[in-house]
Amino acid sequence: MINKNRKYTVFIIALCTFLLSAWCAHAEETAIVIKSQDLSAYNQVVKGFQDECLKNNITIKSIYDLDGKMKLGQKIVRKIKNEKPDIVLAIGVLAATVLKEEIDEIPIMFCMVINHARFQLTEPNITGISTEIAIEDQLKGFQSILGSFKNLGVIYDPSKTGNIVAIAENKIRNVGMNLVKYEISSSKEVSAAMEKLIDKIDALWLLPDSTVVTKQSFGLIKTTTLENRIPLLCTSDVFVKAGALASVSSAHKDVGIQAARLVGKILKLPTPGSLGIVYPDHLELSVNTDTAKILGLELKVVQEDLKINFYP
């Protein structure tokens, strides 16, 4: 009798275990992370994503590194297709574009793609977190340390950041400011652009434009703005550390967290692409105090919803 009971008990436990496992196996979401290269910023995104996935019962099946090489993408895509995750997080433009071309059944979420609009990442299975910050949020952050100002200068290559400038121009005009634009097509024109622009502006807005921002040109831009006591405003804290006055950007880890939180939402949608591209939900204001001192600014940040980082 006892043995018989034991047998039933074991059977029931095994059945429950099986059923629980089956339920659990059915309920857990899986994800694969693919990053374009081994960058600190990308690694922070991965870390944020991993941490949040744990909290949200999302299993990260694999983390791949393209190591900057497109050729590797083919092999990795084959592996991803075999693994069949619920979603793939593509970090960086190389990963995003490789996946866009090769995968259309698995939802793809990208992040850390600078000026994503350039790469037409608009397939039904693709959504993402924008690297760009809404201009209104940027202006709030900049005005919190500068106060109001009228003329915001910008140097840009229309083929790279023309869309950003076009959107920003209207919004800036709506808040009563003036966007003073200067188009260039080569990084050699930065010097001339600065000369033409510097007397007409109250602050210079540095876009993530690879024609404008190079290793050589950034030094020139920084020096010129400092000499003319013009605040240099950016979209990456890297430039603030390098001497720009301020930037409004997202913390890389927060982007990973935000991505993990979006997984469930995305998977519930009939098509992930219908979510569109979302802005980062956590922003931080970075300020270089040395530069502020040179510019004679008294820092009185009153923007409470922004995390503030002071450098150096």
Binding site: S36, Q37, D38, L39, S40, A41, Y42, L66, D67, G68, K69, M70, G92, V93, L94, M112, I114, P208, S210, V213, K215, S236, D237, V238, K241, H252
Partner: protein, 540 residues
């Protein structure tokens, strides 16, 4: 000295200028062409080395340091070198590790003589330089660094944008090595030679030739009218002011010709006016000369009249004095003469002891001197008593002969008479004229102490009867000629200075004249001029 004409100068300097411009143009054209070709060569070099640098196989070959893998990339590179300008290529993995170095066979310079680029670690962008090897070959050297490509450009920018401070080892691209290639400008040199001989030199030659021709025609066009102007100017300069330059062009030469014609015309007018004024001046001058002559004549006449007047006054004064003195001396002299005569007779009758021959001699002297004094007194009286001539119609030749008959002429004096026959009769006081003639003949004879020739001639001269008495005597000093008719002036040691003054007085009373021409040492000519018709004398 060779004269260089304006045509030659114009052609020479214009040709020189055009030749200079031609040469400069050719030089500029050649330099520009060469510069352009060199620039093209540079572009081809950069293009070739860029192709090589971007060749994935090259990077792979450098990564595994496999020389053999370069065969295909180099073949592709040589195929791209259509112009056959690629001279050498070299691949360096490190400064001392040359993976590959080769050259084209037709390059004379050995590959090891071509300098290896230094400091390959310092190259970040393509490097270009030109060098010439020891054997004179020139190469355009291109060097480019080859980096291992890590990722796409956008990811590179992302790395830059998001920061690399924690992964700085990835920031620097790994340098695989450098590629060095050389291009030879031989083709450019040959092309330049072709351009030089087929374009630049012929073009320069044509420019110079055309320039000379053009300058020749221009010079001819300019010089021809100028030469015409010079020719006309010469004629005008020689006095032919009727010349006119026939140039009708509307340019500066035409204007010059027009101005020249106007100038000639004005000059002619001025010269005509000047000649007119000169003629008038000549006439005025002639009239002034005549007036001057008249004035001189009048002045002479005045002087003569003045002298006459002075002489007459002198004569009157002397006459008055002589009359008084003669009158007062005449009687005492007569008494003295009588006394001497009586004394001499008494002494001749009775010899006296104290009286010797000398006393008689002294008495003779006294007697002679008394006679002489009497003569002087008589002369003075005669002088003062020259009365108004009593005129009768007379033959002057007869008067002359009579006067000559009354004068004792020394034997050593040759008398020549040239008396014009059939002279008209004139109304004269024959005695007075005879006195004048005697006086003059005596004077002439006295002037020829050592002999000579005495000429007497008579003739009619204009409205006068003229008698000329000339001698070959000692003549009268010039300064004394004017004084000889003054009373009491004499050049003779025993003269009284009365004779010629009396003659002058007689001639005046006959409305005639007495004149003298004398040269010291040669002789003297005396002229007596008597009017053929004398109003005071009435008709003959």
């Amino acid at each position: 000295m060779i004269k260089i004409g304006i045509r030659f100068k114009f052609i020479f300097f214009t040709s020189l200028l055009i030749a200079t411009i031609g040469l400069a143009s050719s030089w500029f054209f050649s330099t520009q062409t060469r510069s352009q070709l060199e620039e093209e060569l540079k572009k081809r070099g950069y293009s070739l080395i860029a192709q090589l640098a971007q060749d994935g196989e090259v990077k792979d070959s450098m990564t595994v340091a496999q020389k053999a893998f370069f065969e295909e990339p180099i073949t592709r590179l040589r195929n791209l070198d259509i112009e056959r300008e690629l001279a050498y290529w070299r691949v360096l993995l490190t400064q001392d590790n040359i993976l590959l170095e080769e050259k084209e066979k037709w390059i004379k310079t050995e590959i090891d003589k071509i300098p290896v680029h230094k400091n390959i670690e310092g190259i970040t962008t393509p490097v270009f330089n030109v060098f010439t090897t020891d054997n004179g070959e020139q190469f355009y050297n291109f060097v480019v660094p080859i980096h291992e490509k890590r990722t796409i450009a956008e990811e590179e920018f992302a790395a830059h944008f998001f920061g690399l401070e924690e992964d700085s080892d990835q920031n620097e691209e790994k340098l695989l090595g450098i590629i060095q290639i050389g291009l030879t400008p031989e083709r450019i040199n040959k092309k330049m030679q072709v351009i030089l001989w087929t374009r630049s030199i012929p073009l320069g030659f044509i420019i110079v030739l055309v320039g000379i021709c053009v300058s020749y025609f221009i010079a001819s066009g300019v010089v021809k009218p100028v030469k015409l102007l010079v020719k006309i100017t010469d004629k005008v300069a020689s006095g032919d002011l009727s010349q006119k330059v026939e140039i009708n062009s509307k340019d500066e030469i035409g204007l010059l010709a027009s101005q020249f014609n106007q100038m000639t015309k004005n000059l002619k007018q001025l010269i005509d006016e000047k000649e007119g004024v000169m003629d008038e001046l000549k006439n005025v001058n002639r009239e002034l000369s005549l007036i001057n002559n008249e004035l001189v004549q009048k002045n002479e006449q005045l002087n003569e009249a003045q002298e006459q007047l002075v002489r007459t006054e002198k004569l009157a004064a002397v006459g008055t004095l002589a009359s008084g003195v003669s009158h007062e001396l005449r009687n005492p002299l007569s008494a003295i003469k009588n006394a001497v005569f009586l004394l001499k007779r008494k002494l001749s009758r009775k010899a006296m002891p104290d009286i010797d021959g000398k006393t008689i001699q002294f008495l003779d002297i006294m007697d002679n001197e008394i006679d002489r004094c009497s003569k002087i007194i008589n002369d003075l009286l005669g002088f003062t008593r020259v009365s108004k001539p009593t005129r009768f119609s007379s033959d002057i030749n007869v008067v002359v002969n009579e006067a000559l008959s009354r004068v004792v002429i020394a034997k050593n004096i040759k008398l020549t008479k040239i008396l014009q026959p059939n002279l008209p009769m004139i109304m004269i006081d024959a005695n007075q004229i005879d006195q004048v003639l005697i006086n003059l003949v005596e004077n002439a004879c006295q002037a020829m102490v050592d002999g000579g020739e005495l000429k007497i001639s008579s003739r009619v001269s204009e409205s006068f009867m003229e008698i000329e008495i000339s001698d070959s005597g000692c003549g009268i000093p010039e300064k004394e000629v004017k004084k000889i008719f003054d009373p009491l002036f004499t050049t003779k040691p025993r003269g009284t200075g009365i004779g010629l003054a009396v003659c002058h007085g007689i001639m005046q009373k006959h409305n005639g004249a007495i004149k003298v021409k004398s040269q010291e040492g040669i002789g003297t000519k005396m002229f007596i001029r008597l009017p053929l018709e004398d109003k005071d004398a009435g008709s003959v």
